[in-house]
Amino acid sequence: MEMKLKDNLSRLPDNTAMKQQQLPACHFHFSATRILTAFFAIGALCLVMGIILILSSKSAKTIEINYTKICANCAKLQENAFNFDKECTCSIPFYLPEKMQGNVYMYYKLYGFYQNLHRYIRSRSDSQLLGIDIKNVEDCAPFEKSHNGTPIVPCGAIANSMFNDTIILSYNLNSAIHIKVPMLRSEITWWTDKYVKFQNPSSRNLSNAFAGSTKPLYWSKPAYELDEEDPGNNGFINDDFIVWMRTAAFPTFKKFYRRLNRIQHFTEGLPAGNYSFNITYITSFQGEKAVVLSTLTWDGGSGLFLGFAYTVTGAMTWLVLFSMIAAHLMLKKRKTFFLQQ
């Protein structure tokens, strides 16, 4: 009998919240006031955010100069295969009507350059760029090896197509005095890129480390000679190279090029006046090239879009809020009307 009782009990399912589907749950209890308050708050938040963003992005100063047409001669020159890597310089004067206060950043901007093509984006060798095995060109198709079979360093389509125009900004105090605006090329990359994702092979002499390899097809100098001024900025850890290797998401993009060294005339930023870009034009492609000078605000150089997006969202939320209030009041009135009847 006892056995049987035990047996009976053992078949009885456990009385736990989980098994009896009585786990604690939280239900939102929506009431008109709560919903309306929430909508009001969200709307207000978005509007404030939006207005702040718009105002702040208005305060940023930006100047963009498209040099595709101006340097068309250079492009034409290069169309001839013989002059492929011939240097060609063009100068673009411009006038800065207002001074650019604070830090000024220089970008190059490419229109219609598809850095996000599937095969392009994969054409790189991370193990090479980490300095682990510079002969590893496995993923770099079709830029793995030169015609004579030596591996290309750095290999791949991305590296091969690196932006290598040289842009020099000069401040023209008057027609005679042209001051070269001092620019810094350091700290233009992500810290992680510079110190983690890109490493030179460990060797005392960089050129030795790169021995047995060949430079990318479209490059004029090998990677270990990218920066003649700063020996620490050569090889894979060259800032310009790292910036280029961080591929852009869209076919129109700008990349960090230089930042203003705030010394001498330029401690306050760029004063208003006449300037000119001296561009050593290297390669041309189907799209357009531009150079951008810009100051930044607290939130960086965000365009107007985000501010507008916030404002529109906030406005829409409030629109819905008002219509809900109207509906609520009308229903309430009708209810009381019915109740009175």
Binding site: R11, N116, S161, L217, R246, A248, Q286, G300, F305, L306
Partner: protein
């Protein structure tokens, strides 16, 4: 016609000849008793299991994608994005299959290595089961499992009797008796004679009919017919018999047990089917997107990429734009396949499994009376429980308890039984009853209650008809007596009705004591009388009666018969007219009270006549052609000119909570159809008792026509009645397309007001199920709130279910407890078995089982509703989530030259569904409750969305997809706008691909997770 031929020449040498008469061909087979229920062995596991797994459409589809991804030209995703989930799923399934199979191997080994004593070389030797061969002679001892299907040769009990328990075969726990042929039972335990036994058995081919066996034993120049009574099947246990010998007829896979373990039909839910359609549509959608993008790619390659190529792809030769587009198409098919990820299928299974466990764990569906929790036997049907429109219920044992109590009887035109009128009289009666039972009958069952002193008086007075009536009850049955440890007499009954009748006879002084194959001993008012059992004409569903022919000690031969009144009344002698009319009045009175009735009759047989008849029966038994038909004919022949004794009425009480359940189900707009084998009156009465029929119904139609025309006429009339005279049916209606008809039917259904009920009996149902009346029946039945079909056969039950299933496009559930409900349970979308009195067959065939009918409302209204709600919400959300996730690639295509570049990191794509968003959605699918269980029981109307298929259908799907597309659009273009031309606070640009990908991925996870907390459209 296939027939088996087993020849025995010496005990060890055995032959099984399977001869096919048609071709006069004899095949010699040497079958051993080894069984394999396992599917694989170590070597075959991998190939066979993988082959099976890749037969599933989803797995094959993902394999196809994987192969696409391995082609470098078009692989837009790395191979691991598909292979990780696929391998995970395949491994999980394989591990599950492997463990299942391991246990099967283990049990196979255990069973195959069981020892049994086999007669080898004239000696009994222990042999493993797997080495037992057809033709071997086996010795079985008490409580041993039977190793193979045996022909019983002899046993320790007199007359070669032996007792077996068949629980493993059919779930019935009562003992059954088997007896050897008298010629073989003489062999006894004489090893040397047994060893020389050289009979030849001609028998049917292996089949799965547990209760049927036909064969002939040829031995020493005579032929003996063999039937089920002579056979012990594998899986049985020998009881109350110290030993027995048997010859193996079927071994191993040929045994009836193994033949019965066939594959069960795979049921799928309507959501499954819908999902398959949707997946096809989605695939079509993908192809369209792929084509758009491929065209885009061709154009881009031509306009932009051409010049760009030289710059980026250096030394490659010029490519054909169209070919590039073609490759892009496949690349995009790979990328966009995440709309239907493999995890969808896995999650659906996990959710269903979770819901199944909740049902198993539900304490409120646990029946303490029998210590039975609810059990889910098919775990893949749960959400369909929330869509049931029609419930087909058996009556006996399902709505009622199937605990029979003898209530009333009519003997020779006089009613005995409970009298309701005067309470004082009743008390007196109870006293008398107690007195009478106790003194006169020490063997009485203490639980028995019968409140009529008149009957006891009549017995005492020695009314011969009353005595004959009770004698019949004590003789004509299949009950097995057994004495328990305290010496009390216990009856092993196969059907509770019989038990009730034999117990009643016992309490009234006619005590059934014991039986042998040739005698039945009863104690008649204190004196032991032994009757010679001459023939036993057994019960089946077609005959609906059983008879015994006995010779009493005075030498008279009598046939005692009991059975359904309709059948028996046709067999009566013409002189019975007066008593017939009286008895039928009584019968309808009994039935009107919801009692189950049987008519009782006897016939005195002439010695000569019986001998002639018996000779013919023996001939028929040996015959191999049309044996059953000939035997049935002979039974008909002798069961005529019966003298009516009276009728019995047995009560079967309603189960607890049935009324409430029926009311709630009807509030939930679930139509309950009762399909029962009972009499019309009984069925109607039960209908009233459980509130299915009420007095304020507009009309209760009774269809009881005897010809096809009559039935059709009645149906049409009833239909006119429902629609009213003003709205007669258009003539062309009958030739309308079926679909139109259905629509019409549903329109009509809405316009019909008022409650109607339909009652139809089996006889009429047979006509109504014919093609021309079928639609009328269906339309009428659909209009009625309640439908009761009485006197239906198991096959008709299944036909009715099929009819509704096929023509109404509705989800059906069949619930029953007995072997006669199995066909219905199997043919309905969902079969529910009541684990009750009548064995386990219904439960074994069912998808869900529990102990009480009342749990049905909890199963449907709580678990079913939740399952449906959760599954729909899950599916909506899952499709939404994956459209939002995947279509971003489509938008990005316009900015990356249609180069099949993905927006997200490869690992994010791999893990999005199985890591980043898996748990919340699973938790929602398993646990979410829109309303509490109490509310869903209190308000059964909440069940209706499921029936109307409102929560997940094609429209819902499109809304989800549109919502997903909108989300993907916003997800792509807002970051696009924000990132365009942007720079970080320290001047570094952040509009790079990687930042963009991470931002998109993060916002995607946040958006879909927040969306989950909202109600999906």
């Amino acid at each position: 016609m296939i027939c088996l031929h087993i020849a025995l020449q010496g005990s060890t040498e055995s032959l099984l000849r399977r001869s096919e008469r048609k071709y006069k061909e004899i095949v010699i087979v040497d079958q051993d008793n080894r069984i394999h229920t396992s599917k694989y062995n170590v070597l075959t596991f991998l190939p066979i299991n993988l082959f099976e797994q890749f037969q599933r459409v989803a797995n094959a589809y993902f394999l196809f994608l994987l192969i696409l991804q391995l082609i470098p030209e078009i692989s837009s995703l790395t191979w691991f994005t598909t292979i990780v989930p696929l391998v995970l799923v395949i491994t999980m399934t394989a591990v599950k299959d492997a463990t299942d199979d391991y246990f099967r191997h283990k049990s196979d080994n255990q069973v195959n290595n069981r020892q049994s004593e086999v007669l080898i070389d004239g000696k009994l030797q222990n042999e493993k089961w797997m080495n037992v061969k057809v033709g071997d002679i086996i010795k079985l001892e008490n409580n041993q499992f039977v190793a193979a299907d045996l022909l019983l040769l002899s046993s320790s009990e007199p007359h070669g009797l032996c007792y077996i328990e068949t629980a493993e075969l059919d779930g019935e726990t009562n003992l059954k008796v088997r007896h050897a042929l008298s010629v073989t039972s003489e062999l006894g335990a004489d090893i040397s004679r047994l060893a020389k036994f050289d009979g030849i058995v001609d028998c049917e081919a292996p089949n799965n009919k547990l209760d049927k066996f036909t064969g002939v034993l040829s031995w020493i120049d005579s032929k003996y017919s063999l039937n089920n009574e002579k056979i012990i099947l594998r899986g049985c246990v020998l009881r109350n018999t110290s030993w027995c010998f048997g010859m193996v007829i079927f071994a191993g896979p040929d045994t009836k047990l193994m033949q019965n373990s066939g594959k069960t039909k795979f049921k799928r839910t309507s959501i499954d089917r819908l999902m398959n359609t949707l997946v096809l549509w989605i695939f079509g959608f993908l192809v369209c997107l792929g084509i758009i993008l491929a065209i885009g790619n061709s154009i881009w390659e031509q306009q932009v990429g051409d010049q760009f190529r030289a710059f980026l792809f250096w030394n490659e030769e010029e490519k054909n734009f169209v070919f590039s587009g073609f490759l892009t198409f496949w690349s995009y098919v790979i990328i966009l396949n995440t709309v239907v990820p493999i995890s969808l299928y896995v999650s659906v299974e996990v959710i269903r499994l979770g819901h199944s466990y909740f049902i198993n764990w539900d304490r409120k569906m646990y029946y303490a009376g029998k210590a039975t929790p609810a059990e889910v036997r098919t775990t893949t049907l749960n959400e369909e429980l929330g869509q049931i429109e029609y419930v087909f219920s058996d009556k006996t044992g399902t709505l009622t308890q199937n605990i029979m109590t003898f209530k009333k009887c009519s003997i020779n035109g006089k009613i005995y039984g409970e009298v309701h009128e005067e309470p004082s009289q009743k008390i007196e009666m109870i006293k008398k009853k107690e007195h009478a039972d106790f003194s006169a009958n020490p063997k009485a069952d203490s639980k028995f209650q019968f409140f009529d002193h008149n009957l006891i008086e009549s017995i005492k007075l020695g009314d011969p008809k009353v005595h004959e009536f009770l004698r019949l009850l004590a003789l004509c049955h299949t009950v097995m007596p057994e004495e328990n440890s305290t010496g009390q007499l216990i009856y092993q009954v196969q059907s509770p009705d019989e038990g009730a009748l034999v117990t009643a006879a016992r309490n009234l002084g006619f005590i059934f004591k014991s039986r042998t194959p040739e005698t039945i001993t009863i104690e008649e008012l204190g004196t032991l009388v032994t009757y010679q059992l001459l023939a036993f004409l057994d019960f089946n569903n077609i005959r609906k009666r059983m008879s015994v022919i006995v010779r009493n000690p005075e030498g008279q031969i009598k046939l005692y018969s009991k059975g359904a009144d309709t059948i028996l009344f046709e067999k009566l002698h013409p002189s019975n007219e007066d008593i017939l009319s009286l008895t039928s009045d009584h019968l309808s009175e009994f039935a009107g009270e919801g009692l189950r009735t049987l008519a009782i009759a006897y016939r005195d047989l002439d010695d000569m006549y019986f001998k002639q008849w018996y000779k013919m029966l023996e001939d028929a038994n040996i015959a191999t052609d049309e044996r059953d038909e000939r035997i049935a004919g002979l039974y008909e022949e002798i069961e005529r000119d019966l003298m009516l004794l009276g009728a019995t009425a047995v009560e079967d009480e309603l189960q607890e909570g049935v009324i409430e359940t029926v009311t709630n189900l009807s509030l939930a707009n679930i139509k309950l159809w009762v399909l029962t084998g009972d009499k019309q009156e009984t069925a109607i009465n039960i209908g009233y008792a459980c509130n299915m029929l009420t007095d304020d119904m507009n009309e209760v139609f009774v269809i009881a026509g005897n010809t096809a025309g009559e039935v059709l006429e009645e149906l049409r009339k009833a239909k006119e009645n429902v629609f009213g005279e003003s709205r007669s049916f258009p003539n062309g209606h009958a030739v309308c397309e079926k679909k139109q008809q259905l629509e019409l039917c549903s329109i009509v259904e809405e316009t019909v007001t008022g409650d109607y009920a339909l009652i139809i009996n089996g006889h009429s149902l047979a006509y109504a199920l014919e093609s021309d009346a079928k639609n009328d029946l269906l339309e009428l039945a659909c209009m009625c709130k309640t439908v009761v079909c009485c006197r239906v056969t198991p096959l008709q039950k299944a036909q009715v279910v099929e009819l509704v299933k096929k023509h109404r496009n509705a989800v059906t559930l069949a619930i029953g407890d007995g072997a006669n409900d199995v066909s219905m349970i199997k043919s309905a979308h969902i079969g529910v078995g009541i684990s009750g009195q009548e064995g386990l067959q219904a439960v074994l065939a069912s998808d869900y089982s529990f102990a009480q009918f009342k749990f049905l409302q909890r199963l449907l209204l709580v678990h079913g509703r939740w399952s449906y709600f959760r599954m729909c919400k899950f599916l909506c959300y899952f499709f939404y989530k994956n459209f939002a996730f995947t279509l971003v690639h489509f938008w990005f295509g316009f900015f990356c030259g249609f180069s099949a570049q993905t927006v997200y990191d490869q690992w994010f794509i791999t893990l999005f569904n199985i890591v980043y968003t898996s748990l919340p959605v699973l938790a929602m699918g398993v646990f979410d409750q829109d309303v509490s269980e109490q509310n869903s029981l209190d308000c059964p109307q909440l069940y209706e969305p499921g029936q109307l298929n409102l929560l997940f259908n094609k429209r819902k799907f499109f809304i989800c997809v549109a919502h997903g597309i909108y989300t993907s659009f916003a997800l792509f273009f807002i970051p696009y706008g924000a990132f365009y031309d942007v720079a970080g606070a320290d001047g570094q640009h952040i509009a790079d691909y990687q930042s963009f990908a991470v931002t998109m991925a993060t916002s995607l996870v946040i958006v879909v997770s927040v969306q989950e907390t909202q109600d999906i459209p």
